[in-house]
C-alpha cells in the first residue's frame, strides 16, 4: 500500500490511479467518504479507510451504492466535502437520488467517482457512465493519467462547490489499476464544522435551498438547474485539463479523452505522423468547452474521435458542429458512427493505430504481425499454455453449494433452475458452478426475477425456482425482493450463499461480518433474523454436508405457494486460510482405488467436479492432489465414487 497520506508537497510517488484519486480527495480536504465495493473502483475506499481515523475523515463501506451516495450527500449539505466511489453499475443504483439531488443542488464539494469497466472484464456489462452525466447535466471530468486522477479529483471538489452541484470523475479499469508518478500537493489544514444550515427559513420558506422545497413545481427547479449548469461551461473552457498538441493545420485532428489519449499519443508517434496529426485532449468532456472545441475543429477538414464504449465526445462535438453557422468549415467526421473505431470493448494501442492508419490512408503493419518467425513462435507457445477458465478457488463453499443445488434439481426432476446474482455466485453460470445459473442481471436481480417465475403457475409453469445470492448481495438489494415474494406468496426458494465476505471484490466487510470499513466493531446483522422476521421458513445448512444440503433443498422446493429461504453458510476459504494459516485436512489419492477414465468414474473429480486442487496425471491415468493449490477442505473425498480420495485431519 502506498503512503498516500504524507504531507510532503512536491514529492513524487508511484500510485495506482485509484490511490491517486484518494490522494486528490485528501488534498481537497474531504471529511466524508463512502463506497460500495466493485471492481475496478474498490481500491479508492480500500486506500482511504485505513488512514481515515488519522486524517480525521469518516469512511464507510456502505450496504449499497445508493446509501453510500445518499450519506455522502448529507455531509455535503452539512458543510463537509464528501466523496462517494463506485463502479459503473452502482450509478444505476443511485440514479433516482441523483436526479433529485441535481434539483436541489449541494453545498460543500460532493464528488462522485465512477470507475467504468470497458470490455466488462470484471463486470456484467461494459456500461459507459458518461452519458448519465450528460443526461443529468452533471459536470464530467475524465483523467488520462495517475497525476490527473489526483489533480482532477481535487479540482472536482472546487468545481462542485463553485457550481453548487455534484461533479463526476470518471476512470476506467486501465487507469484505476495502472501505476503512474504522482507529484503531491499540499494537504489542507482546516477545521471542519458540520451543520445542516438553511433547513427551514421561517421568513421565506421558498429559500429552503437544500431540501426538495420546490417539489410541487419541479419544472421551476429545472430552470434553476440549467442556469447553475450553464456556469460550468465557463469553468471548462479555461481548464488546463483541455489541451491541443500538434501542428497548426494538421491533415487530421483527433478528439480524445481519458485513457484513450495515451493510446492516441503513442499511436501517432509510432506511425510517425506527428507533423500531420494533431490531438485534442478533453479533460472536461461534459459540458464541452465549446469555444475550445470549435477553435480546434477549424484546424483540419478531417476529424477522428478515439474513445471507449459510447461515442459521447463524438456525438457531442458533432452536435456542436451542426449548430455552427453555415459559413464555417464542415470537416468529415470519423469514429464509431463511420465504422473507423470499434464501437465496443476496450481500445488499445493496436486498435487505435489501425483507426488512425485507415483514416490517413497509410498502411501499417506492426513489427510483430509482419514477422513470420515471431508469429509461428507465438502459435507454438500458445499451444503449451493450459486453458485457464474462470473457477471457484480451491476449498470454495460455492462449489459445494452449486454441486448440491444441481443434484437437488436433478433429483427433483421438474426442470427447476437457478436465477443468479452478482458476485462470486455468478460463476454458477459456468463449469465450476455446474452450469446451474440460468439468469444473471443485476444486484438483487436473482430474487427479483424469481418473484415473477414464482407466479406463473396459473399459466402452467411448474418448474421449481431457486434464486441465489451472496451474503453481501443479500444486504445490498435482495431484501425487498424477498419481502415482495413473502408478501405476494410467490413460489421460490431464496438460497443465500453466505461465505461471510464480499469475496469477489476483495473481502470488504458487510453488515453480516459486523466489522466496519475502518476496522471497528459495528453491530452485526443476522441474515436469518431478518428472514425469520418476515415469517418465512429459514433453513441453515453447511454446504459441505452435501447430503443434508441436497435433502433440505429437495424439501423446500416442494413447499409450494411460498417463498422460502435456505442459507448455505460456510466461510470463504481464503478468509479462513488467511486467519488459520493451516489446512484442515491433508488430502491424498489412493491410486490403487482410483479408476479414473474407466467406466464407473469417467474422471468425475477432475472433469465434472473440477476443483483446481485436483489434477489429472495423464501418464499414470490417475487423479492426484496438487498440494500447492489444494486447501485441504475435504469435499472431494465425498465426491469420489470409489473412495479413492482420502482425507487425514491435520
Amino acid at each position: 500500500m502506498s503512503n498516500i497520506e504524507i504531507d510532503a508537497p512536491g514529492t513524487t510517488q508511484l500510485l495506482l490511479g485509484n490511490e491517486a484519486i484518494a490522494r486528490g480527495a485528501l488534498e481537497a480536504g474531504i471529511g466524508f467518504a463512502t463506497a460500495y465495493p466493485g471492481t475496478p473502483s474498490s481500491e479508492i475506499m480500500a486506500t482511504l479507510a485505513p488512514i481515515a481515523k488519522k486524517m480525521g475523515i469518516y469512511a464507510e463501506w456502505s450496504i449499497n451504492e445508493m446509501v453510500a451516495f445518499e450519506a455522502a450527500s448529507a455531509a455535503s449539505l452539512s458543510n463537509i466535502r464528501a466523496l462517494s466511489s463506485m463502479k459503473a453499475n452502482g450509478v444505476n443504483v443511485i440514479t433516482d437520488f441523483l436526479v433529485n439531488l441535481q434539483m436541489t443542488g449541494i453545498k460543500k464539494g460532493l464528488v462522485l467517482v465512477v470507475c467504468d469497466d470497458p470490455g466488462g472484464m470484471t463486470s456484467s456489462n461494459e456500461q459507459d457512465t458518461r452519458p448519465i452525466a450528460k443526461w443529468l447535466n452533471i459536470p464530467l471530468l475524465e483523467p488520462s493519467t495517475a497525476q490527473e486522477c489526483k489533480d482532477m479529483t481535487k479540482w472536482a471538489f472546487e468545481l462542485s462547490e463553485e457550481l453548487g452541484m455534484v461533479c463526476m470523475v470518471r476512470s476506467v479499469t486501465y487507469l484505476s489499476h495502472t501505476r503512474g508518478n504522482v507529484r503531491f500537493g499540499r494537504l489542507p489544514e482546516e477545521t471542519k464544522k458540520a451543520h445542516f444550515a438553511d433547513f427551514y427559513d421561517i421568513d421565506d420558506p421558498q429559500q429552503s435551498k437544500y431540501t426538495c422545497g420546490m417539489q410541487f413545481h419541479p419544472y421551476k427547479q429545472s430552470e434553476v438547474l440549467l442556469k447553475r449548469f450553464s456556469k460550468a461551461q465557463g469553468h471548462c473552457e479555461g481548464s488546463p485539463f483541455n489541451s491541443y498538441n500538434g501542428p497548426n493545420t494538421p491533415d487530421l485532428i483527433i478528439f480524445t479523452s481519458g485513457i484513450c489519449w495515451t493510446y492516441a499519443t503513442e499511436a501517432v508517434k509510432i506511425l510517425n505522423l506527428q507533423d500531420r496529426v494533431g490531438i485534442v485532449k478533453l479533460g472536461t468532456t461534459w459540458p464541452l468547452p465549446e469555444e475550445f472545441v470549435t477553435r480546434h475543429l477549424e484546424r483540419s477538414n478531417k476529424v477522428l474521435f478515439i474513445e471507449e464504449i459510447s461515442p459521447l465526445v463524438e456525438q457531442s462535438v458533432m452536435e456542436l458542429a451542426a449548430s455552427l453557422p453555415a459559413d464555417r468549415p464542415r470537416p468529415t467526421f470519423y469514429g464509431k458512427r463511420s465504422g473507423h473505431v470499434r464501437a465496443w470493448g476496450e481500445q488499445d494501442l493496436n486498435l487505435v493505430i489501425q483507426s488512425i492508419a485507415t483514416v490517413m490512408g497509410t498502411s501499417y503493419r506492426s513489427r510483430q504481425s509482419s514477422n513470420a518467425e515471431y508469429q509461428s513462435t507465438l502459435k507454438e507457445v500458445a499451444k503449451t499454455l493450459p486453458a485457464r477458465p474462470l473457477t471457484f478457488c480451491p476449498g470454495c463453499a460455492h462449489r459445494a453449494s452449486f454441486w448440491a443445488i444441481k443434484i437437488a434439481l436433478q433429483l427433483d426432476g421438474r426442470n427447476g433452475f437457478v436465477t443468479g446474482d452478482i458476485g462470486c455466485t455468478a460463476m454458477g453460470m459456468i463449469s465450476p458452478g455446474s452450469f446451474q445459473v440460468r439468469t444473471y442481471y443485476a444486484m438483487g436481480g436473482g430474487v427479483g426475477i424469481a418473484n415473477g417465475f414464482g407466479h406463473l403457475n396459473q399459466f402452467g409453469f411448474s418448474q421449481p425456482v431457486i434464486a441465489v445470492c451472496g451474503d453481501s448481495t443479500f444486504f445490498h438489494a435482495s431484501i425487498p425482493g424477498l419481502i415482495n415474494g413473502v408478501w405476494n406468496k410467490s413460489n421460490f426458494t431464496l438460497t443465500i450463499l453466505d461465505n461471510s465476505a464480499t469475496a469477489m471484490t476483495g473481502f470488504q466487510p458487510h453488515p453480516g461480518t459486523g466489522i466496519t470499513a475502518t476496522g471497528e466493531t459495528g453491530k452485526k446483522v443476522s441474515i436469518e433474523a431478518i428472514c425469520r422476521s418476515l415469517g418465512v421458513s429459514v433453513q441453515v445448512c453447511d454446504p459441505f454436508d452435501l447430503t443434508d444440503t441436497v435433502n433440505t433443498l429437495l424439501k423446500v422446493m416442494r413447499n409450494e405457494g411460498n417463498a422460502t429461504v435456505v442459507i448455505l453458510r460456510r466461510e470463504c476459504e481464503l478468509v479462513r486460510a488467511r486467519r488459520e494459516r493451516k489446512k484442515p485436512y491433508k488430502m491424498y489419492v489412493d491410486s490403487s482405488r482410483c479408476i479414473g477414465e474407466e467406466c464407473g468414474c469417467n474422471r468425475i473429480c477432475t472433469r465434472v467436479f473440477s476443483c483446481p486442487g485436483l489434477v489429472w496425471d495423464r501418464d499414470a491415468g490417475k487423479a492426484v492432489i496438487d498440494e500447492a493449490v489444494c486447501e485441504g477442505c475435504g469435499l472431494c473425498a465425498e465426491v469420489c465414487p470409489q473412495g479413492a480420495i482420502l482425507k487425514e485431519a491435520l
Partner: protein, 368 residues
C-alpha cells in the same frame, strides 16, 4: 451399439419409458441414481461403451447368447422357459412361514445356503421404515427374514451388487424379478472387469412377475396409509379385486382399479413372467394353494440347491396339478404375445423389437 453409454441409456430406455427401475445402472457410477421411483442422470458422462448401457435389461439383449451361457442351448419358446422340474413347495419353518409373502421357499432356500456355507450373503430387497424398497445384502437369518416381504414397487436390487468393492470375494445368492435376473445374466455373459467378480453370484432365484407399480405409487400409498405401521402388502388372487395393506392389527384394502394406473408402462414390453434365466424361479401357489409356492428348477445349481434344502428338511414339496401348470404356461405365453405386440406397435414393425434379440422363427411363432 458397443459405444453406447449413459446418454443413449437415458434416451433409449429411461426417456422412452422402457426402464424397469431394476438398479442395473445405479450404484456403480456417480452419474445415475435412483430417486423416488425415477432413474436420475446427475451429470454428463462422456464415456463410450458404458456398462450402464451394456447391462441394462432393456438395451439390445441377445437372448440366444444368454441362454447358451446358462443352459448351453439357444433361446427357444418354452412358455415358462427351460424347466427341469416344476412343483409346489413351502417352508417347514413356522417363523419363516409366518413372515414370508407366500410359502417362504425363497427364504428357506437362502437360509440353508447360508447355513451350509454355499453363500456368504443374499442380495435381496429390503423395505425401509417408509416401505421404500432398496437393494440389500442379507448375511444371516434375521436379515433374510427382514427381506421376506414384497412391496410391488420396483426395487433397485442390482444396486447392492454394483456397490460391492472390486476386491470383494464373498459368494452370493440373488433374489430378483425377471428384469433383475436378465441384467444379472448379461453381466454373466460378459463379466465386468473393474468390479466385484460376478461369478461369485452362485445362485439366482427369480420371482414371477406380471408388472410392478411405480411413478407416483409410493406417494399414493403414503397419502392413504401410515406406511411405517405396514407389515405386508398383498394382491390376493381372483376373485378378490383389491390391494391389501396389513398392519399388526388390521388389514386395509383399496380397489385394484385404483392401483392399476400405477403399473409401470415398461412392464408391458417385457416377455418374461417367470425369470427364465434364473437357477430357480419361484411364484405364489395362487388361490388353490394358498401358503405354497410354485417352484421351477432350471439349472444344475438350482437342482443342487433343492436337494440340499430337501435333505435338511427345510422345505416340503408336492406335485403341481396338471391344470395349474397349464394355467401357468398359458399366463406366461399370453404375456409374451401381448408384450411382443406392444413392442411392435411402439416401433411400427417386427424389424425393430427395441431391446429384444430373439430369432425370426420365434417371432413368427409368438405372433401366430
Amino acid at each position: 451399439m458397443m459405444d453406447n453409454a449413459s446418454k443413449e441409456l437415458y434416451e433409449e430406455v429411461i426417456e422412452s419409458g422402457l426402464c424397469t427401475l431394476c438398479g442395473g445402472c445405479t450404484g456403480f457410477c456417480p452419474y445415475f441414481v435412483i430417486h423416488e421411483g425415477r432413474i436420475v442422470r446427475l451429470h454428463q458422462c462422456k464415456i463410450t461403451g458404458g456398462q450402464c448401457y451394456q447391462y441394462c435389461p432393456r438395451t439390445p439383449t441377445d437372448m440366444n447368447a444368454i441362454s447358451r451361457h446358462i443352459f448351453g442351448i439357444p433361446y427357444g419358446e418354452y412358455e415358462i422357459g427351460i424347466a427341469k422340474e416344476v412343483f409346489l413347495a413351502r417352508s417347514t419353518d413356522p417363523e419363516i412361514h409366518q413372515k414370508a409373502q407366500d410359502g417362504g421357499v425363497v427364504t428357506s432356500l437362502l437360509s440353508v445356503a447360508l447355513t451350509e456355507g454355499m453363500i456368504d450373503g443374499a442380495v435381496e430387497t429390503k423395505l425401509d421404515d417408509e416401505k421404500v424398497p432398496h437393494g440389500f445384502i442379507a448375511r444371516n437369518r434375521e436379515e433374510l427374514l427382514e427381506c421376506a416381504r414384497v412391496s410391488y414397487e420396483p426395487s433397485p436390487v442390482l444396486e447392492a451388487i454394483n456397490h460391492l468393492p472390486k476386491e470383494n470375494s464373498e459368494k452370493f445368492g440373488f433374489v430378483g424379478l425377471p428384469c433383475h435376473v436378465a441384467s444379472l445374466s448379461k453381466m454373466k455373459v460378459s463379466p465386468p472387469t473393474n468390479r466385484a467378480n460376478i461369478e461369485n453370484v452362485k445362485l439366482a432365484i427369480g420371482l414371477f412377475c406380471g408388472w410392478t407399480l411405480s411413478h407416483g405409487f409410493h406417494q399414493f400409498l403414503q397419502e392413504r396409509f401410515n406406511l411405517s405401521k405396514a407389515i405386508k402388502f398383498d394382491i390376493p388372487h381372483h376373485p378378490a379385486h383389491s390391494f391389501d395393506v396389513y398392519t399388526k392389527s388390521e388389514t386395509q384394502s383399496v380397489d385394484l382399479d385404483e392401483i392399476t394406473p400405477f403399473i409401470n408402462k415398461a412392464c408391458s414390453y417385457c416377455i418374461d413372467m417367470t425369470a427364465e434365466f434364473a437357477d430357480i424361479s419361484v411364484g405364489s401357489g395362487r388361490t388353490m394353494f394358498k401358503g405354497w409356492n410354485t417352484v421351477i428348477i432350471r439349472t444344475k445349481a438350482g437342482a443342487e440347491m433343492l436337494e440340499v434344502a430337501k435333505s435338511r428338511r427345510a422345505i416340503e414339496t408336492q406335485p403341481i396339478p396338471a391344470e395349474s401348470l397349464k394355467n401357468l404356461k398359458r399366463a406366461s405365453l399370453s404375456k409374451k404375445k401381448r408384450s411382443l405386440q406392444n413392442i411392435i406397435s411402439m416401433t411400427g414393425g417386427v424389424d425393430d423389437l427395441l431391446y429384444l434379440g430373439i430369432s425370426q422363427n420365434l417371432i413368427s411363432k409368438l405372433l401366430e
